[in-house]
């Protein structure tokens, strides 16, 4: 595996002959080439090269090189949605395999491929779908919610995004060349060690996560500083919207947890490439050390994902109940309770390790206790709805779906926090059903609610409500159909990650039901894509002229939709929670503001280049091409130095330009209020 030539040769003989990836890889390769050739031919025949170059320039100049967090947020979401679709296709394969592979049938996938598929599914869904949507949403709205024009370090933000994108690209490369890890989404050693996983799959996994993980860490630091240092005057901590509090909790967790991931992956990588013995089963290595470390990151990671979703619901429920959020202070304390406790529960992922009764009891109790602050939040949302004027819009539907499923899933979690019970259901489908309830019913529903809620602020028009509700119903019905059988199967003794089971188990019926559930979820995704397309088509009818389509409460609704590049022409002064709502209630006439020049960061492709260099380093190390890794490293250093020498990084939007944009918005607003 020392040269690029071996790299190609490696592909040919790595898999068993009937393996589906052996078919997928050439098909993908041929398809990529064919599509490229067709595109070139079409462009030449119809003489549309000028047009294509124009589009390319627009995307390059307005998107890829942009440092505007709103645009970076949209790019995060595009990458995350593509990865979500990939993760769903993995899920469909898993369900198909388990529905069919019993008795004499071996299903549709070979055991090796099946292992790669479920490993890729978990990795993609957590690191790219959920994290990507979360960072996308944070980029879109956090500066707007705190009355800021930008993030603390706009360029660093671009670097973070491109590292994330580089990770996403890297994890899809095994579709063309190499293979995916077959070790589960957390790659436990010694299985993931070089002895039992000699291929490049685990290395792809390590470098994907290393690159994307550093991106997440940098982004976490960036937004932490943004929230602490860039709030509008008067917005004390206890006047921040609860979404911002939730994000802050997640960011603190990122700052504490992601370095552990970086260190752990580095050690696994050193084991594999340098012959070290951190996690090997001989030479004094300790595989359980890895499992402790990975969950010391992994459990906080769960809360990194769920806290922003909680924050979304706090905004959505208040807005659509036309009431201020019930129990603001207790919400804030609940967040910090969860942040603190989330570092004291990691061992519940491996009660069966045999740490002893006292240790298990401690972690079991801590796990049960974490349900208390979560329960506080659930009750606060319900009390916010109580006697509110509730509008059952799509974001609100996602909330109601969330509250029902999440509570059930949470109780399943409390059940498993009892070590004695955990021993019965450890590694079973009961567990799989539990965490999917939390991640789909909690995180994903929350992110969908947030995207629907803030969509008009970014794009200037609302999403179609009817199709959104169809999508919601498909998701909730599909989700329950897919996962209730897994709870039952778990109790019947079905363990996770089975590529085949004996017919006498009597499990097949339930597995088929679960497969039907995934089909219904796919229908929901179809409706979501349809909703997006239809809403773009009908964007003039659904245009948001007032900038405040939901009768909102927080600052982001005070500016135009889509929000201008500088967010706020005049930085608002905050006197109360829900400042925008309070302003709307007051009878004071708005004074004509005095506009000033605003400086915003200039576009730059350096973030993309830096991530590309990181990609080269990772890719070269995966294949042990040390020269290329060195070249990548030098490129990385040179790029960072070049950027650090550049002092001309800002451009000015003149006061006259700001006034023109704002006057146009006020005219639209008047028109919108009349209509």
């Amino acid at each position: 595996m020392n040269t690029a030539i071996n790299l190609i040769a490696h592909v040919g003989h790595h898999h068993e002959p009937f393996d589906i990836t052996a078919i997928i890889m050439p098909v993908m390769l041929v398809a990529t080439v064919v599509v490229g050739i067709i595109a070139i031919i079409l462009l030449t025949i119809f003489k549309r090269w000028g047009w294509a170059i124009g589009i390319g320039k627009y995307i390059w100049g307005n998107w890829l090189t942009s440092l505007d967090p709103k645009k970076i947020g949209v790019m995060y979401i595009i990458v995350a949605v593509l990865m979500l679709l990939r993760g769903v296709s993995d899920a469909v394969m898993i369900r198909a395999q388990q529905a069919l592979s019993t008795g004499d049938s071996s299903g549709v996938l070979s055991p090796d491929t099946f292992q790669q598929v479920f490993s890729a599914h978990g990795t993609i869904m957590i690191f790219f779908a959920a994290m990507g949507l979360m960072f996308g949403l944070i980029n879109l709205v956090v500066p707007l919610l705190i009355g800021a024009r930008d993030v603390a370090f706009p360029f660093l933000n671009s670097v973070s995004f491109w590292l994330f994108a580089a990770g996403a690209v890297m994890f899809n490369i095994p579709l063309l060349v190499g293979d995916f890890p077959a070790t589960g989404w957390l790659a436990y050693p010694p299985l993931s060690g070089i002895e039992y996983s000699p291929g490049v799959g685990v290395d792809f996994w390590i470098w994907t996560l290393q690159i994307a993980g550093v991106g997440s860490l940098l982004s976490g630091i960036n937004f932490l500083v943004t929230i602490f240092k860039m709030r509008a005057p008067g917005m004390t901590m206890m006047k921040m919207p609860v979404f911002v509090w939730s994000v802050l909790g997640a960011l603190v967790l990122i700052a504490f947890a992601f370095p552990i991931l970086t260190a752990t992956l580095a050690m696994l990588s050193l084991d594999r490439t340098m012959g070290m013995h951190f996690f090997t089963s001989d030479f004094g290595g300790n595989p359980m050390m890895y499992i402790n470390l990975i969950w010391a990151w992994g459990h906080p990671e769960v809360y990194i994902l769920i806290l922003p979703a909680f924050g979304v619901f706090s905004e959505v429920v208040a807005t659509f109940s036309r009431k201020r959020l019930f129990g603001y202070t207790s919400m804030v304390w609940a967040i910090w309770g969860i942040v603190f406790l989330s570092f004291l529960v990691w061992l519940h992922h491996f009660f069966t390790m045999g740490a002893g009764a006292d240790v298990n009891a401690f972690f079991g109790i801590m796990t049960a206790v974490i349900a208390v602050p979560t329960g506080v939040k659930v009750f606060n949302w319900l009390f916010t709805m109580f006697r509110g004027r509730i509008t059952l819009s799509t974001p609100m539907m996602w909330f109601l779906g969330f509250v029902a499923t999440f509570t059930v899933g949470g109780m399943a979690g409390v059940l498993m926090s009892v070590p004695a019970i955990d021993f019965q259901v450890h590694n079973s489908l009961f567990l799989v059903a539990h965490f999917h309830t939390m991640i789909i019913g909690g995180v994903l529903f929350g992110l969908f609610a947030g995207l629907t809620y803030w969509f008009p602020k970014i794009f200037g028009f609302r999403l179609n409500e009817r199709l959104g509700k169809y999508a919601f119903w498909c998701w909730i019905v599909g989700f329950l159909t897919a996962f209730i059988p897994l709870y039952i199967l778990g109790f019947m003794g079905a363990t996770r990650r089975l590529d085949h089971y004996d017919a006498s188990m009597g499990w097949q019926g339930l597995f088929i039901v679960a497969g039907v559930g995934v089909a219904i979820i796919c229908l929901g995704i179809f409706f979501q894509l349809l909703q997006l397309g239809y809403s773009i088509w009908k964007r003039r009818e659904n245009a948001d002229l007032t900038g405040d389509p939901w009768n909102g409460r927080t600052l982001e609704w005070s500016v135009s939709s889509p929000a201008p590049e500088y967010n706020f022409a005049v930085i608002p002064t905050v006197h109360a929670r829900d400042q925008f709502w309070v302003s709307k209630q007051s009878s004071a006439k708005p004074v004509k503001p005095r506009y000033t020049d605003i400086s915003v960061p200039k576009n730059t492709p350096m973030g993309m280049f830096i991530a590309a260099a990181a990609f080269v380093i990772g890719f070269a190390i995966i294949w042990h091409v040390w020269i290329a890794a060195l070249v990548g490293l030098i490129a990385l250093i040179v790029l960072i130095i070049i950027r650090s020498l550049d002092e001309d990084t800002e451009k000015i939007i003149t006061a006259a330009e700001v006034e023109r944009i704002e006057t146009a918005f006020l005219a639209r607003k008047k028109q919108g209020q009349l209509a």
Binding site: A152, F153, L217, I221, N222, L224, V225, F228, K229, M230, A255, F256, F258, P259, I260, T262, A263, T264, A266, M267, L270, D271, M274, G275, M276, H277, F278, T280, D282, F283, G284, G285, N286, M289, L293, A296, I637, I641, S644, L645, E647
Partner: protein, 185 residues
């Protein structure tokens, strides 16, 4: 870019780096007895050697502080002198560390020998890697100060470099204590 954002952001970064080192320290604590029949810490390290290393690094931290004080007085020649001394001390420290690594490997006690040695090389090596990055940063910083003098951004970067260098100093004190001193017992 205002000062306080950069300073606060850099402190947060240092804290994340602190967690990274904490993970490596924890791993070392778990694995330090796992010698797998190879030599334990007490047979490997020469304390006087490491003490000189330590003194070099501590002195370099002191000279980095003097450079920052000279920058307050806007004395360019002094800043460059102190930074150059810092750089040379850092290089000497790194040279001694690499020398120690080379002799360990030469004696057949490389990172492949045992879990303990894997943890040792990784913990100390990660610190050395940070020192290397610091030295690279220092070179660019000196070049910038020579070319541009004391602008807002060069002074800011000098202050951040100081933080970084002191941080590495503190990490080294922990390495010296936990790995070398306690290893000698």
């Amino acid at each position: 870019m205002s000062d306080s954002k950069v300073t606060f952001g850099f402190w947060v970064y240092l804290m994340t780096d602190c967690v990274l080192f904490a993970s490596l320290f924890a791993t070392y604590a778990v694995l330090h007895g796992n010698t797998f029949g190879g030599p334990p810490a007490s047979e490997l390290f020469s304390l006087p050697f490491v003490l000189i290393e330590t003194l070099l690094l501590l002195t370099s931290s002191f000279t980095a502080g003097l450079a920052l004080l000279a920058a307050r007085r806007a004395n360019k020649a002094q800043v460059i002198t102190w930074l150059t001394i810092t750089f040379l001390l850092g290089v000497a420290f790194l040279g001694m560390e690499l020398n120690e690594f080379a002799s360990l490997v030469h004696e057949g006690n490389s990172w492949q020998r045992s879990g303990f040695l894997s943890a040792f090389f990784t913990l100390v090596g990660t610190h050395g890697l940070h020192i290397s990055v610091g030295l690279l940063w220092l070179m660019v910083l000196v070049a910038q100060i020579i070319r541009r003098g004391f602008t807002k951004s060069t002074v800011q970067r000098l202050a951040m470099f100081g933080l970084f260098w002191h941080f590495l100093d503190i990490v080294w004190i922990f390495i010296f204590t936990f790995v070398y001193l306690m290893g000698a017992i």
